[in-house]
Structures are given as structure tokens and as C-alpha cells.
């Protein structure tokens, strides 16, 4: 039988139940893709989020990406520089400053700024952490620490967009979009790409999880950590689940009648979308219901601790695990407030106090549940901070650091990366990479590789060009892979 006719012959109910993953059944229609006249079939009869095979065997299936936004200070957290204290208060020679571009620093009077942090080696690997991250430090042997990241933009938004989309201007799809585009979703009642934003909103808002020129199917969905998990998820006042069900049944019946008349399979997609919406309405409350979690787990994450921001960040970490368990492909957790031009010492104490415990708890929890192997956890940021103090006029004292794209640190855990590895090195001031430089495009290439995707082959055609996450560069960092 002609596959399309076969498809047409299936009733909605059959086709929703025969195919695993609900609307995945529409993937049947991919069988129908026949050469049309002069062009390949591109009509979207298929569910764009149906799980797809990667290019090669993947190490990771899910990703939890912490974006500590504002530019975390590598020299105060991960990359110890004793020279800073030695040279504190001294200027750098003009030859060093020549050609450097800063956002705020006044070159003529800039001085090296010391760090009050104490660094210690941890684990068998002897990985360095400052005293601000005692819990994360216990993960040392599971982490792949990269000290030699570099990027180009030195302003926040372009740099953040760069980290998210591999390009420093708005308009391109972001990491989660590429992953869900390349691999689909393995979750039939939650979006494949979820964003959590405990604390104040991230600068640039939704541009950070934009699908760019891809269909909105691949856009990140912002989940609240309280109230409606998803925008418009809750029924309007007075519309109960029973009325919603009756309504959807009637909508489906009329749509199917229209479908028989017009014969457009797109109507089936509409029916499926409404059904998936209904399932999401049921699944989301379950997702945020922690009553089934053990007390020890809640305590480890710190769900009840400290202040509101701390509790919300902890909640986000636990939500992330629960999403990964349910098959969400990419969970992006943002925390703004790391742009320490002033008050860096107090600021870092406070911020690390928010993130250290729950991030460590999450990684351990994933590991204990056997999920870490297939879940890549990333601590990322848009750029680093200068060894020079930010000396802009009007500041009573120099107490912070300026933006620094030329060198910064990030780390990964799980998802096939090598634990206990400290990769790359910066000069004695943490100002420039001196060994094994890694550009953001390289990092992205590697991340895709861990998911079984070839960064040069994962392309999206738009306006006459095949676009990639890695733009025109990118190198897989084989050394990082376990």
C-alpha cells in the first residue's frame, strides 16, 4: 500500500498510540518524503522533534549548562596566580597594554589587583580550586577543567551570544536549539530545551535561548521555578481539566472532519500539538512536585536553606535533574550577577555561596543515579576578568576587575569528558593563554561531538548558506574525551 494512503488511513487514535512517543508517529510520514518536482520534499509532515540518530555513537544524551553570567573571575576561582599579589599595585608596561581593548579600564593608571583567595589542590588529580568553592572542589576527579578558553567580544551581550550561539551577533540558533534540531527530543510531554532563571533576569533575555532562524520548535522554553512552570500552561480561571478535555475532544473531532475534507496532514500535526499541550499541562505539575524526593536529597541540594535566591537556585538544580530523568535534552540554568567591576571579594563570596552547594549536589546526585555518564554538566560564562583592577574614574577605590575575553576558565563533568583533567594554561597574570588555547567554537565542536554530532555536518540552510554552530571554525578537543 502506498505509504501516504496508509498514513491517511490511520485514525488519529491509532496513530497516537501505535507510535511510541505520541507525535513521533508522524515520523511515519518521513517515509513519504518523495522527490517532488524539481525539489526534495521539505513539507514538514514529520514531527520535527522526533528523536533522531546522531552521526556517530554519542557519549552524552543530555546537558545541564550553568551559565554564570557577567564573566566569572578565573583568577579568583580556578586559575591561581600568586604573581598577582606580588605585583599588586604595580602598573604593567605600555608594551603590554598596547593594542589591548578594555571596556572600562583606564590604561594610563591601571594597576595589578591582588586576590585574597587561597587555593588548594583537591582529589587524586590535584585540581586547584579557591576557598570559595569547597563543595565543587570535592568533584575534582570528575571535572574537566579548562583554563585556556578565549573569545573575542569584550562586552557582555555580544560575548554571551557568542558563548550561546558561536557568533557575536544576535540572530543565530543557540546551543540547545542545535542539539534539539540535531537529535530531537526524547521527552513527549516536556519541551526538549528548557531554560531556568533563578534570580534576576539574564541580560538580553530570550535572545540567549533563541532559535534564531530555525522554526520556533527549537527555541528554549523558559520554565518558572514557581507558579506556572510554562507561560500559559495553566488553564484560564474556571476552565477545569474536565472542561479542557471536553474542549480538546471537540476541537479534535472538528479538525479531523476538516482533515477528511481537505486532506492536509498538517491538520494532524495541529491535533497532535493540542494533545501534547494537554500532556504538558499534566506533566509540568508533576515535574515540580518534590514530595517524592528523599529528605536527604532535598537537604543536599539545599532546597530549604538560606535566602530566596539560594533556595531558587537549589530548586533549579533539582529541577534540572528531574528534567534530565524525563528526557529533556538541554537544561540551561542562568545566574546573573558575576560582573564584578567593584566589590569582587564580597560579591564572589555571596555568589559562590549560592551555587557551590547545589551544583556539587547535582553532580553527585547524577553520578549516584548513573546519569552522569550520559549527562554533560557545564560551568560556563561569557569571558574572564582582568588581573588589572577596574580603575574607572569615580570609583572610590579599586575593588573589582574588568572584562577579559583573552583568557577564562570553564569546567565540565560527565557526558564522556575526562575527570581530573586540568587543560591549558595562562600566563602568570591569567591575562593570556600560553598553552593549548580553546576558542568557543572549539568548545562547541567538542560539545556536539560528545552528543555524537559532527559540528561540520550539523548544518541548517538559511538565506543561501549552510550555517553551523561553530560558524567557520571549531576543532574537537580529543584530549578532553574519556
Amino acid at each position: 500500500m502506498d505509504p501516504l494512503k496508509e498514513h491517511v488511513a490511520l485514525t488519529r487514535r491509532e496513530f497516537l498510540t501505535t507510535a511510541a512517543g505520541g507525535i513521533g508517529g508522524l515520523a511515519l510520514a518521513s517515509l513519504l518524503a518523495r522527490e517532488g518536482v524539481g525539489a526534495p520534499a521539505d513539507r514538514r509532515l514529520i514531527n520535527p522533534l522526533a528523536a533522531k540518530a546522531p552521526h556517530f555513537a554519542p557519549r552524552a544524551r543530555n546537558c545541564i549548562f550553568f551559565f554564570l553570567s557577567g564573566g566569572t573571575s578565573q583568577v579568583d576561582l580556578f586559575d591561581p596566580k600568586p604573581k598577582l599579589n606580588e605585583l599588586a599595585g604595580q602598573p604593567l608596561p605600555p608594551s603590554v597594554l598596547e593594542g589591548l581593548r578594555f571596556a572600562f579600564i583606564q590604561k594610563d593608571s591601571a594597576r595589578v589587583m591582588g586576590s585574597p583567595r587561597t587555593f588548594r589542590q583537591h582529589g587524586e588529580s590535584g585540581m586547584y580550586f579557591s576557598d570559595l568553592l569547597p563543595n565543587v572542589a570535592t568533584l575534582a576527579d570528575d571535572l574537566c577543567m579548562v583554563r585556556s578558553m578565549h573569545t573575542e567580544p569584550f562586552n557582555h551581550h555580544p560575548a554571551t551570544i557568542m558563548m550561546n550561539s558561536g557568533f557575536d551577533r544576535m540572530g543565530r540558533p543557540t546551543l540547545g536549539s542545535w542539539l534539539t534540531y540535531g537529535l530531537g527530543s526524547e521527552c513527549d510531554d516536556l519541551p526538549g530545551y528548557v531554560v531556568l532563571e533563578p534570580g534576576p533576569g539574564i541580560r538580553g533575555g530570550a535572545t540567549n535561548w533563541s532559535c534564531g532562524f530555525m522554526p520556533s520548535t527549537y527555541e528554549g522554553v523558559l520554565f518558572g521555578t514557581r507558579g506556572d512552570a510554562v507561560h500559559n500552561l495553566g488553564n484560564p480561571p474556571g476552565i477545569t481539566t474536565a472542561v479542557q478535555r471536553m474542549s480538546l475532544d471537540t476541537i479534535a473531532r472538528l479538525n479531523e472532519r476538516r482533515r477528511r475534507h481537505i486532506k492536509d496532514p498538517e491538520i494532524d500535526s495541529r491535533v497532535s500539538s493540542y494533545e501534547l499541550a494537554f500532556r504538558m499541562q499534566k506533566a509540568a505539575p508533576d515535574l515540580i512536585d518534590f514530595s517524592g524526593e528523599r529528605g536527604a536529597t532535598l537537604e543536599a541540594y539545599g532546597i530549604e536553606r538560606g535566602d530566596d535566591l539560594q533556595r531558587r537556585f537549589s530548586t533549579s538544580c533539582l529541577l534540572a535533574r528531574r528534567m534530565v530523568e524525563r528526557g529533556v535534552r538541554f537544561v540551561n540554568i542562568y545566574m546573573d550577577g558575576w560582573d564584578h567591576h567593584g566589590g569582587i571579594n564580597d560579591g564572589l563570596v555571596r555568589n559562590c555561596g549560592v551555587v557551590d552547594q547545589p551544583i556539587a549536589a547535582l553532580v553527585k546526585d547524577l553520578k549516584q543515579r548513573g546519569l552522569l555518564e550520559s549527562t554533560l554538566v557545564v560551568w560556563g560564562t561569557e569571558f574572564g576578568r582582568t588581573p588589572l583592577g577596574d580603575n574607572r574614574i569615580g570609583m572610590a577605590a579599586v575593588t573589582g576587575r574588568d572584562h577579559q575575553p583573552s583568557a577564562f576558565s570553564l569546567w565540565m563533568a560527565g557526558g564522556g569528558v575526562k575527570g581530573g583533567l586540568t587543560y591549558g594554561a595562562t600566563d602568570d597574570l591569567g591575562m593570556n593563554v600560553v598553552r593549548d588555547p580553546v576558542h568557543i567554537n572549539d568548545f562547541h565542536a567538542t560539545l556536539l561531538h560528545l552528543f555524537g554530532l559532527d559540528h561540520e555536518a550539523l548544518t541548517y540552510h538559511f538565506e543561501g548558506r549552510d550555517y553551523r554552530l561553530t560558524d567557520v571554525a571549531g576543532r574537537v578537543m580529543g584530549e578532553w574525551i574519556a
Binding site: T207, G212, E463
Partner: protein
Amino acid sequence: MVRIAVISCPHRGRPHPVNVALGYALMTLAAVGVHASERPGLAGVTGLPPAASRAVDFSTDVEPLLAANCHECHGSETRKGGLRLDVREEALLGGDSGAVIAPGSAGESRLLHRVAGLDPEGIMPPKGEPLNIEQIGILRAWIEQGAEWPESAMGAGAEVRSRHWAFQSVEPVEPPGVKEAAWVRNPIDRFVLARLEREGIEPSPEADRVTLIRRLSLDLTGLPPSPADVEAFASDTSPEAYGRLVERLLGSPRFGEQWARHWLDLARYADSDGYEKDFHRPHAWRWRNWVIDSINRDQPFDEFTRDQLAGDLLPDATLEQRVATGFHRNSLLNREGGVDIEEDRTKIVKDRVNTVGTAWMALTVGCAECHSHKYDPITQREFYQLYAFFNSTDDRDIPAPLPREQGTWRRGMSALDLAKEAYVADEPDGFEAWVEEVAELPDIWVTPAVEDYELPTFGANNGANLYPQEDGSFLVTGMVENKTHYIMMLNTALRGITGIRIEAMTDEMLPRLGPGWATNGNFVLTEVLVEASPLTAVTALEAYGVGSVAADYSQEGFPVGAAIDGVTTNGGWAVDLPELPMHGVDRCAVLTLKKPIDHEGESRLKVSLVQHEGKSHTLGRVRVSYTTSEPEMLAGQAVPQRIRDIAGVPEARRTLDQRAELKRYYQATFQSDVDEFVEFTKRLAESPGVKGEVRAQVLAERDILRPTHLHVRGNFLEKGAEVEPGTPAVLPPLKTGGGEADRLALAKWLVDPGHPLTARVAVNRVWHHLFGEGLVNTPADFGTQGDTPSHPELLDWLAGEYARLGWSRKELIRRIVESATYRQASAVREALLDRDVNNRLLARQNRFRLSAENARDQFLAASGLMEAGIGGPSVGSERPRRGLYQQIKRAQIDPMLAVFDAPSTVQACPKRQRSNTPLQALTLLNGDLFMRSARELGRAAGWVAGGEMESRLCELFQRCTAREPTTEDLKDLSALWTRVRDYYREEPERAVEVVGAGEPGPRDVPEAAAWTVVARVVLNLDEVITRE
């Protein structure tokens, strides 16, 4: 959809982190931070084979070598790396990375290094046999002997050729003959039917009349027809009925709204700047209004093009023509603190070039930003030639009353002129002598060009950005900070600087015309700090004390002396004029240094303008000048340059405005006849152009053009060869008629009948909106990577027709919608799916989901909530205005717009996605405005309407879908109604929630709730947001 593809843009090198290879030596700190983006220098003659030891001749020796080894890639069709070696001028000009032939100097000729394999970027030719020593020797000898290239040789092929269909000119086409001539309504049908007949496929029958009126209404106005319109059309069987309907819809002002939205997609329209700050653009909508008006009055597309590209350059440009240039102002603008203004400016110019390329030519010119286009015949040099057209503009926000208010405006301006005449008729005592004195002031000031300032360190430190102006001043716009510092950092060869002049200047962009950013136009200059050092010792700037300061005017309590008193936290110089409704007067302060700044060689100079008063008491537009005259000469110099310039104009030649400005300045400064001054200034403040009126974002061309250089690898800091404005060689030549090669010439070039792209691209867009797919289904790309037209002859016929119709958009649309092709049913034909799944053959109409805005419009129109009124400012998403008017914040696109694939507004969007997602379902089911629509529809068509249940359901259904429900539909809906009503009888409080508050409330709340639910169900049917 994962496609294995070649890397599409392989040459854009990333600067490698730098000092990796250098290692580093901290003891000297020498290596830290050295940027190593410098490209490797040429190797000289080392390693080059010796030159042939005879005189070589180009035609017999060199040309055959080039032809055999180079022309395939560096000829008229491909021009790899932007280099042609078959045309003399082009070859000598070089490619993306500069010149390759240096006549007389083998060591500097990259051509030789490449063919000899000495260049790090690899050997040429990259494939096949390398050139042998003897051949290279011939090339070397030719270059060393002066690279003689006779004009006659190979000159004939100077034009760039391409066989690509879209670059061939549009030739007249005869519609083909067909068998089923009876089906044909106009020539369009002949092209379509001929193709179908060739395939042995019959076209679809005409759609039923209800579908036709809904399709036409949606396509032309974006709104559904009312049930009464449907009834009238369905029962009008006269042959003219269809034509009359088309005429009515084309005449509807809603037509302009609908088609404006299509154009807004191309213009990347938004109501905010984008990037992190994403400031609101309160005036953006004024340009949108222009588009709506222009389309409604059917302004021909060639004029529509001309006005937007270059309206400001037209002789005697009207206000509307200037407003039209707002097209370009839709570029993103980064106002994040510490941003490099020049970098952002170059990004904006590139964006403008790319947008024009996409919107008018469907060319991906942006691919040539960093290197010559990989697929299309556009070199990097040509990209920067296009860039040069847009490189000399300033962004201005000008008073722009709406057309209907312009009469009043003009009358107001005339009245103001009369008032000015009266004002300048009398001269205050001492005025004449003062003018003379000012005119004779010695000219002692040097104002550095903005390029002389070091970017970006002149920037303000809290994120305010200073936009360089042509006159050497800096304008602070958008980012208004409470407290700030402006830092003017300069390397200068001036010796013996004795004084500094600071001018606080007025500007139409500032509150009450400025000169400050405070709401009353004031500022407070808390302190001026002057530091300098020899250029050789930049880390040790020395503070230079200011001995004395004079200003032309100081506000009581804010003397200018307070700006040099060493107190940087409060107080300072301010210029408020008490009890005045506006400022609008330039101010000036002159500082005399205690000792001159005088260094051997150049000095590094830093002037910091500290502004710590708060509440945006900051300078709006400021200019700093320097003098090396003797300190005595500085007496009396505290007069703004603008005033000095006017005073210098002989009295007889001063314009009315100049005369008024001079007198105002005099009166404001010396407080002579305060009453007259206050009265006149009030007049000014209330005049059109100042007081709370509408403004528009426009472009203004500079008098002095910026030179344009190629940016090597797209890097704005790495300037390559200078280029002149020009158009890609593969397209017809630019005609300037002896005039400037400016934006106006570019606009005329675009709409010249010989241009192969503009008309084709434009008609394809119209087709795209009337069929859901274009004849070329890549409306963004007509280049070699784009789609080929499904009906090339039809495309060309339409392109020709557009010009024949005088570029009338409405007439073109009329032609298309009157065709039998357009009027076909859209039902999917299963038998054709195997052969033509995408319906490229047009054996039926297409059905497709409506745009985000139109989906919203259906809910508002069906429920009757939609606010009437065309045009106006953008509104929040909860206001029941058409989707077109929803405010677009780039960083926070309204979730409803985003889930329905509204464009990101970052770049031109010629084709929207049409995704189908559960978030869309949630939005339409549960979103506030959508639920409100359901309530209102349920009320209006349900519980307050009289009549039978069935007729009420029919009315409700028709308002949403235009069609009558089938018997089964009615049965399902009334069954739902009954079940829901019964349900809510058991849950009365819930029913109240559903119906919501409102007066008067329903008598039977559960029934009313059931109507709401039924309305919500019908509004959520697939067909409501689908154009059939």
C-alpha cells in the same frame, strides 16, 4: 534534516590567541597581551626562482601562463579571493587581501610567492601542476620589468559574466498557448496551465465562494470577512462580483497594514535597540506609519525604493521622504557600557548593506564581508563598495508630525517665522557692538577631528556612549545616565597647549533642545580634570592644574569656577535660565592652564568631564578644543563657536534663524530685556518641532564623506585598500549621470529596467504572500545557492508586467488574484503527492498557517474586540490592537509572537517559518487576550444574542471561519455546549470565573460559561489560523 554539507564559509580566520607561540616572560612582562593578528610579512625575494634574463612580453609570455593556470578561478566568472587576473585594472588592484602584483618589485609581489609556494597560505594553483622554475622566472621578470600590461590585451572581457539565471536581464516573454483556453482568466494562467498540461495534470476546480472571500480578505487585509460580507458575496452571482470584492479590499486601509507588515519583516523593524540594553525606540513607529500610508496610496515600488534608500538626498526632500529613510534606522544599536562605538558603527553599516542586498536583490552580499563570496560573483571589494554608499550618514531623530497634522505644523512654522521677524526687528542695546566684537575674536582654537580621539577610551565610564559628530563634537543619545564621566583621550602633536575650550551644545535630540540631558535641558559639569604626558610615558599621566576659568554664562549657585575647584563629588557649573520653558542655547567655558602642556614629540592628553550632580544632569552634546596661544589671548574667548560663526556672516547674509539665534544668545547671556526674551522663547518652545510632537528616526548624509576601506577579513581595525562607492560588476553598471555615486544613484540603479534582480525579487515576494510559497521558494536568495524558479517564464513575465503597471503594487496584486490559478481550491490532491508534494506545479492553491500577527487578528476580529484606527504608536500586547502594532522589544520578543515564528528582527526575514508546536496551542487556549476574545465572542454571538441555538452557533462559527458549520459540526458543538452547561451547573463558582466580571452579567451563568467554552473551542480550530 541534518545535512552533510561542505563548510560554507571557510576562510574567515579567527585571530589566534596570541602569545601562544611567543611564550612569555613575566619578569619583563614584555610578551603579555601582545596581539598577534598581524599577517606574516612577505618573504622578499628569498627563495624565489631567478628572473628570466630577457625582456618578456605580456601577450606572448605572460598572458598564456595566466590563462592556463589562473583564469579558471581568477577570471570573469569566479574571481576567487576577489582576484581577477584577466583584466588589467583588476589584476593590479589585487584581491581581498590586497595587491598581489607590485610592478618593479618581485619581493613585494604576492603572486610570485604564491606560485612559488613560499606563502604560508599555500601554493597556487592549488590543484594540478605547480608552475616550474622557468615559468615563475618569466612572471618575475615581467614584474621586475614593470609589469607592463598593454591596454589592448585581454581588455575585452572586463565585464563579469555569470550564467546564473537570476543575473540575466529580464527579456520580454509571450504567454504560451494552452489547450484548455477556457480555463484561462489572464496570462498568468497560460504559464501555469501550459506546464500542467505538459505534465498531464488538470488544475483544481475553483474554490467555493466562501473560501474565496476569506482567502482574499486574509491575503489582502489580514482580517476575516464578516458573516454579512460573506453572505453578500456568496449570493452575488454576477461576473463582476469577484472584481468588485478585490477592488473593495485593495481600497481598504487594512490593506496597507497587512502589506506593511510584510515589508517590516524585510526591514527588521523593532521598537527597541537590541543587545543588552535594548532601549525602547519611541519614534520607530513613525516610519511604520509611513510604510502603511505609502502602500495604501499605492506609491509605485520604484519611488517606494528611492524614498527609503535616499529620500533625504532628493532635491527639496519632503518630510515624508526623509521619514522613509527610517528603513535603515532599524539596525540594532549596542549601547552596552564600554562598547567600541566605531566597531558598532561599522556593524551597523554592514547590516544596512546586507539588508538592502536581501530586501531588494535577494543577494547574500553579507557573505562577502570577510572574503569574496564563495558562491556568487560578489567580491569582498564589491561588498565594501556597497558599504561606501552607507558609510557617511548620521542617525538623526527629527520632528515629524503626521501627514494629517502637517498643515497645522506648516501654519505654525509660518507663524513662528513671523514671530521671529518681529523678534529680530529690534536690536537690544549694545548688541551690534557685541556682534562685531565676537566676529573679530582671534581664531585660536584647534578642534581635533573625532578620528583623532582614541577609541574607545573617550567613552563614558558607566555605559554612556558618545557618538562622534561631523563637527568634532560628541552626542550622547539613548543612554542617559544620572552620573557619568566623559573621557577625551587624545594623542596630539600640539606643543604648548595653554587653554581648553568646552562647548555645551544644543541639539534637536535633547530635551528642550539641550544642551544638557536633564529634563529641563540643563547639565552640571562637576569638575574638569586635565592630564597629560609625553606619548612615550603613557602610564604616568601628570595632572595639569587649571589656573582660571571663564564661561559665557553661569547659573546662580553654579559658577563655572566650581568646575575647577578640586571637588569632584558635587557642585559645578550649570546654565539654567530661570523660569524659562526651554534652553536651546549653546554654552561655552574656557580654561587656562597653570602651565602649558609641552612635550617633545607628541603628547598624550586626557580631559575628563566629571558630571556628578545626578538626575541626568549630563552634557548632551559636547565639543572640546585646544589652543596654544598666549594665556592673555584667552580673555573674551568664552563664546560658542556656532555663535562666532553666525557673527562672522555679514549681516545682510544672515538667515532669519541665524539672526534670531544670535539675539537669543545675546539676551540669554547678558539678560537684557528679559521679558522679550522669555516671551519669544516661550513661543519657540510651544512651536511645532519642539513641543511633545511626533519624531522620526532618519538618516542624514554628512557633508564630508568618510573614506571607505576594505576591512581585511571583516575586521574593522584592519583597513585594506580604499574603495569608492560602486555596484557588483556582474550587475549592470551604476549610472550617475555625472552626479555623485550616492544612495540616490544606488536607488535609481536598483529600479532601472535593466536590473535583473529587483523586479523579479519583488514580484516573487508578492507571489509568496498570495500563494504561501514563491515561484522561487528561497525569497531570500536568488544567488547560485538559491532555488530555481518553478515557472521561470511566468516570473519574468510578472517582472516585466510590474514595470508595465508602473510599479503599482495594487495592480500587480489585482492581476495575480484575478487569475484562475489563484482562485483554485486548496484541498490536497492525494494523487499528486507522489509527483509534487510541495505543489510547485500549482495544481491547487496552498493552505498555510497564518502569521503570528494575523493569528491574533482573527481572535480580535471574530470577537469584535479589535480597536479601530490605522497607524499610531506601538502598544502592549494586552491592548486589543492588531498584531502589527504590538510593541517589539528585541531582547524580549512577546512570547505569543515568538511561538508563532514572528521574525527575530535582527536581520531581514523574507520568509517566516511556519512551525506547529504545543506552545502555540497553549497560547491560543490559555493566553489572556485569547481567553478574553473567547469570552467576548461567547457573549456577543452566544448569550446576549437572541434566536435559536443553532443560528447562534452558526453566527459564532462563521465569525471565526467564514463558513457555515456542517450538520455534524453543529451537533458536536451543541453537545459540548450542553455538557459544559450541565457541568457548570454543578460548579457554579467555576462558571463565574469562566465568564468573568462584566456588566451586565448573564442571567444564566452556566449557560454563559458554556458559550465561552464553545467560543474558545471554535477559535482554536485549525482552520481559524489557516488560510485555505
